[in-house]
Symmetry: C2
Amino acid sequence: MPHILITSGPTREYLDPVRFLTNGSSGRMGRALAAAALRSGCEVTVVSGPVEIAYPPQAEVIPVVSTAQMLAACQAVFPHCDGLIAVAAPCDYRPLEVRPQKIAKTGRPLHLELVETPDIVVALAEGKRGQWIVAFALETKDRRLRAAQKLHRKRCDLIVANGPSAMHGPDTEVEVLDPQGQVVAQLSGPKEEVALGIFKLIRQRLMKSP
Amino acid sequence: MPHILITSGPTREYLDPVRFLTNGSSGRMGRALAAAALRSGCEVTVVSGPVEIAYPPQAEVIPVVSTAQMLAACQAVFPHCDGLIAVAAPCDYRPLEVRPQKIAKTGRPLHLELVETPDIVVALAEGKRGQWIVAFALETKDRRLRAAQKLHRKRCDLIVANGPSAMHGPDTEVEVLDPQGQVVAQLSGPKEEVALGIFKLIRQRLMKSP
């Protein structure tokens, strides 16, 4: 039974015990992809940041908070998997300093120094041994070009390009690009249907027939 | 019929179209207080930041995203209300500059300048004409002292002090302080029960008997 790792949801990078940086990812696309993979008879592990939605009960779910925690959880699971679908929106900057107490307001501006978090897909691609990787790219500008660049930099087999409007709602609109930069699919509609379309492509192009 | 304004949930302060500062407020305590007020026969307006929970259908809900939007919505409603329960956790810093496109990673640190957002309770207290105000204070240190200071600065009638552990879960633990700095109640348990306890205090101490 193929074992698929899915990263899902946002991560959080805390400034202090209360405030954090994040994004509006809801985990809905990750849930839809987990359901599509389970329907195809795959074993599914979801490494998920904090979300309010519930994943399919047949999936193994590993909850994490920060990007570093998401990476560590993935590094433990990925060697045992056949492929990765990286649909999470990990917070890619973290405050250099995390204050142990809630920062009290002073009336003055607060200077925050942010540093980049590790790129989960890049890190997993470095250690891959025959596994396929499908990543999502969220872009607000030059979507197709930037997604193609990400596919190469992150050594993916397919990349799914979408925009911020897809981040929270029930519907989405995506383009799937292959390593030649070709748009191999344009899918739109409810996330459940788009996930079935993406998973069909994965099965056809990346999964060995039994 | 008394009309009560409840602020609830977190707010978001965006850096760019994807990333934002926020906190883990879920809106559950706001929902519980709305239900308690409705049960007492009050009319309820909830001004809420982005949450996944659903408020009681009998409450009027005004959804907002940022702290400035929350303040503007409250300023429109509060003059027609008898009292305010400020349980929202508005983001109290915002990026000075909001980038129109997603900030691309460069490998270098990102300096972010944050400025304070307006304090919603202070702003509403300035314009109050006989309305009562109950605010929540989330503190990680010197909880009782800081809550008492906030009560005075924000000209509240009661203040409910809690900690970050209360922010997301089903349960909470609070202390209610009066303007003399006296702890008038210590309540813990499911948020629905704690909300009933808080609302009972509001009825006894702040609401005119019909």
